[in-house]
């Protein structure tokens, strides 16, 4: 009853009508008593009392005063914004960009950290991880262990298994397909559909590998040497439980069909605990199975615990992730802070221009909190509009950003769970905008009303003293922009460094065969027959794909950790790695894996300083043998560019066909793409058990550089946007100062001051703040750089070029932004200004 009253009769019009009726009735009565109409009306009004006063009392009685105030504030705020379209539009733009960038970033974090897994029972989903005696975490289990776990857990949870493989998909080409072999309850449990009899394609895999062929269901596809029928295509939403979406799901029963992997299945185990069961119960039950899991394991590998790690989202929520996300979020939030500082400056200037209006309102009785509420309403309104614009911007650019950030994955043929926009993103947008509104609105509002109160006595006075707050804001936004620019500069610097870095060997025309099966020797023979192929060599690990293996070596009683790689006798020649001393391997040495080694220059310098390395002996612990050094090769980059030239490298002999040689590296003389196609055909013909995807070493090197390049581009975008924001803000502040101090400028000019001095007077305070901002920002950057260096050994953080260039750039652009409006001051017609009064 109360609610209806409150909502229903909030209109002031009806209240007036009620009271008017009363007055008229009373006047009628007075007229019946003999008064004339005007006298009756007048007396009725007098006897009634103040309509306006009673109206307010009524609304107060209904608790509507507050609502009235808010509505009035909103209407006024809209009028104010429309009166200053330039200012409002600028503010909305700043907010849209800064909040939009943060919202887009959050979109990524949301998809991998907050959105529920697209499977049934996501809230009750968990991973099973075991811990053994050595405190290693075990993620993979064999069949026997999975059986033990399932039996143990059957009362409290349903367990499923996933085994990830890559298999060759053979049609006109041979391509790598990412396959997950899953237990029979995978689809019923997580997807709510009966267990399919055949391969299930993911939506992404269906698009990528089969071009979205509408007739794919029922067709037989060749994986490896088996033909498997496609039972269906999963819904686009169903992407499994990981960030990377597999191309194909295979039932366990089909796994045995001719896939050569040579090792026992290593399955990841996950589960959904049954409704009504708590996480702790599930945990307790599974831990009891630890002993059963440990049969047939050596003592130190026995399981001591089985953990139930709840996971309802894609990310595996460990601390590293949180820290990494925080680090990346920092520049985005800094951009928002810079935008807020700018907005606060603009807001301050705007409120300052309304001094007279504020002073009058205070003089007729408005309280300071009331005025502050009014000004804050304006900020909130701006923020709300900005939030809407930001959301639109962020959502619209999501696909583009996604494509940009995940370039590397796409090139590697991986399907990544797409970033989706949802209500959380909009919510974050609004939240950030509101917080910004408080940040950029409150302080200036307080300051402006403070000024107005102080000026209560002299309405005509204008605020011309440089406000401490205004200067403080300029300092803050300059420092923030500088930090972002320096960050961008450092990342760009590093990206360039990697680009220029020479691997030390000839990377063009060097192809990796991309074959990972057991018939390498057969493949090598067919490769040699392909025209355009120069040297064919075998290698253990392909350079630049990852980090090389290391083992302990002993030389003259001292132990060293050294990188090593198995190569055949032709590798050094194929790669174009020159020898500075001694010789390479002979065919016999490679075939028989004799205990000889070729070391890199750096290794020789380190292990045998001041002596010739050739002829020396080194003992390798893993090989449990003494090797004789027969040659010294030039230093190259075999692992990652950011590590640089190999600190150590020992080449050990092995031949194609042995277990140690897993890849072919081919030097070609013919045209790249034609020969690569020929290589693929040769593969199809020769081998049956794996995919062949030849890759250019130059491409592999390029992929290493990509992440840093992407990061540098994002940082550069943030830095440039921040700089532009700051300078537009600076322009606005100086323009405002010039406007306020026109009279002063006129007088100075009239007294004969040179134009440049007048300009300096106008822009001086602001520029001094900018310089101070740079002065404060630089040391902060320096400290951060030192911290960064200790964290990431291989990235260079303190490049003088960046630390000198970034401030110069910022100061230069700021100077221009300040001079442009200041010039107007110098162009003031003194006589005209003095006439204005």
């Amino acid at each position: 009853m109360k609610w209806r009253n409150w909502i229903g009769k909030a209109s002031p019009g009806e209240l007036d009508e009620e009271m008017r009726f009363h007055i008229e009735q009373h006047a009628a009565r007075l007229m019946r008593q003999g008064l004339r109409e005007e006298d009756a009306m007048r007396q009725a009004r007098v006897e009634f009392g103040s309509v306006a006063g009673y109206r307010e009392e009524c609304r107060e009685a209904k608790g509507l005063m507050f609502l009235d105030g808010v509505r009035a504030d909103l209407q006024f705020a809209v009028r104010v914004l429309r009166r200053q379209p330039g200012l409002s539009a600028t503010a909305i733009l700043f907010l849209a960009v800064a909040v939009g960038a943060n919202t887009a970033f959050f979109g990524f974090v949301n998809t991998y950290g907050f959105r529920l897994l697209p499977v049934r029972g996501a809230e009750r989903h968990f991973d099973v991880v075991a811990v053994n005696g050595r405190n290693d975490r075990i993620f993979g289990f064999d069949e026997r262990q999975v059986d033990a776990l399932s039996r143990q857990a059957s009362q409290v949870a349903d367990l499923y298994t996933v085994e990830r493989l890559t298999m060759p998909l053979v049609d006109e080409r041979v391509r790598r397909a990412a396959v997950e072999v899953v237990s029979p309850n995978f689809f019923p449990l997580l997807g709510g559909v009966p267990n399919p009899e055949g391969a299930v394609l993911s939506h992404a895999g269906w698009q990528r590998l089969f071009g979205g062929d509408p007739g794919i269901v029922g067709k037989r596809i060749r994986l490896g040497v088996s033909f498997i029928e496609v039972a269906g295509v999963a819904a686009e939403k169903f992407t499994g439980v990981e960030a990377v979406i597999p191309d194909i799901w295979l039932p366990q029963s089909l796994r045995k069909l001719g896939v050569e992997s040579g090792r026992e299945a290593q399955m990841r185990v996950g589960g959904v605990w049954k409704e009504g069961v708590s996480a702790d119960q599930a945990q307790a039950v599974l831990t009891a199975s630890a002993v059963a899991l440990s049969e047939a394991l050596p003592a130190d590998e026995r399981m001591t615990a089985v953990e139930v790690q709840q996971r309802s989202v894609i990310s595996r929520g460990d601390e590293m992730n949180a820290v990494a996300v925080g680090l990346v979020a920092f520049p985005f939030l800094l951009l928002l802070v810079v935008a807020c500082a700018n907005l606060a400056s603009l807001h301050l200037a705007g409120a300052s221009a309304r001094q007279k209006e504020l002073a009058i309102r205070m003089a007729i009785g408005a309280s300071r909190p009331r005025l502050v509420r009014q000004l804050m309403t304006e900020s909130m309104l701006l923020a709300l509009i900005g939030a809407v614009a930001a959301s639109v911007l962020a959502v619209a650019s999501l696909r583009t950003l996604e494509a940009f950030v995940f370039q590397l994955m796409t090139r590697l043929g991986m399907n990544v769970t797409p970033v989706e926009a949802d209500w959380r993103m909009i919510g974050v947008s609004i939240l950030l905008a509101m917080v910004s509104a408080v940040l950029f609105g409150l302080a200036p509002s307080l300051e402006a009303t403070e000024d107005a109160r102080g000026r209560g006595g002299s309405l005509m006075a204008r605020g011309t003293r440089p406000s401490r707050m205004r200067r403080g804001l300029l300092v803050a936004q300059t420092a923030g922009s500088l930090i972002l620019l320096v960050l961008a500069g450092v990342l760009v610097e590093n990206a360039n460094r990697f680009d220029l870095m020479d691997a030390g060997f000839r990377t063009e025309g060097f192809i990796e065969s991309g074959y990972e099966g057991k018939e390498l020797a057969a493949y090598a023979k067919s490769v040699e027959r392909v025209s355009g192929v120069g040297v064919v060599s075998g290698v253990g690990r392909v350079p630049l794909r990852g980090i090389m293996h290391r083992q302990m070596a002993t030389v003259d009683g001292r132990r060293w950790r050294v990188f090593f790689n198995y190569t055949d006798e032709r590798y050094l020649e194929a790669a174009g790695i020159g020898l500075v001393e001694g010789r390479g391997f002979t065919v016999a040495e490679a075939r028989n894996q004799l205990p000889v080694a070729v070391v890199s220059q750096a290794t020789a310098r380190r292990l045998w300083p001041g002596r010739a390395a050739v002829g020396q002996m080194l003992e390798l612990e893993e090989n449990k043998q003494l090797f004789e050094v027969i040659g010294v090769a030039r230093d190259v980059v075999s692992s990652f560019f950011f590590i640089g030239l190999d600190p150590t490298m020992v080449y050990l002999p092995a031949a194609v066909g042995s277990a140690e040689i897993g890849n072919l590296l081919v030097r070609i003389d013919g045209r790249d793409s034609r020969v690569v196609a020929e290589l693929q055909k040769a593969c199809l013909g020769a081998v049956k058990d794996s995919y062949c995807e030849p890759a250019r070493i130059t491409d592999i090197a390029g992929m290493q550089r990509l992440p840093v390049r992407i990061a540098s581009q994002v940082a550069l975008a943030l830095g440039v946007v921040s700089m532009v924001l700051s300078c537009v803000g600076l322009y606005g502040v100086v323009a405002f100062v010039v406007e306020r101090r026109r009279k002063e400028a006129g007088i100075r000019l009239a007294l004969g001051a040179p134009r440049w001095r007048v300009m300096a007077a106008m822009a001086g305070a602001s520029l001094r703040s900018v310089v101070l901002g740079v002065g404060l920002g630089l040391p902060a950057c320096y400290v951060a750089a030192k911290m960064g260096e200790s964290l990431a050994e291989y990235l260079k953080f303190s490049d003088t070029g960046v630390f000198v260039g970034a401030p110069m750039l910022l100061l230069g652009v700021a100077l221009i932004a300040a001079i442009l409006p200041a010039r107007r001051a110098a162009g003031v017609d003194a006589a005209e200004v003095l006439r204005e009064e």
Partner: protein, 113 residues
């Protein structure tokens, strides 16, 4: 005799009593109060309305728009069940207060023993 001003807090009780006799609009309630008090109480006319709306907000009166005797649109108020209850309670309370006050004001020196 000059009309006595209404004690603060009693206006609402009078309104409840007036409305209890029949549904009325604001002006009618004023006239009713004049009637039942025999013209001896002076009421500030406009003050009626905040009191009416307060009572409505508390759920003791139910207001709705209707048509007056002379075909004008007017807001009529009626007593709700809660209002009836409150009228009864407050009337009893008032009687009690009057008795206590009367007793107190009749006290002589002898009563202070």
């Amino acid at each position: 005799m000059n009309p006595t001003p209404v004690l603060p807090g009693t206006l609402e009780l009078l309104i409840l009593k007036a409305v209890s006799l029949s549904k009325e609009h604001g002006y009618g309630i004023l006239l009713r109060i004049e009637q039942i008090s025999g013209g001896a109480l002076a009421i500030e006319q406009g003050a009626l309305y905040p009191a009416l709306h307060r009572l409505e907000h508390e759920g003791l009166l139910a207001g709705e728009w209707g048509v007056s005797e002379n075909n004008r649109r007017a807001r009529f108020y009626a007593l709700t069940t809660a209002g009836k209850k409150r009228l009864k309670e407050d009337t009893a309370g008032w009687q009690r207060l009057v008795e206590v006050m009367n007793a107190a004001l009749r006290a002589t020196g002898e009563d202070l023993a």
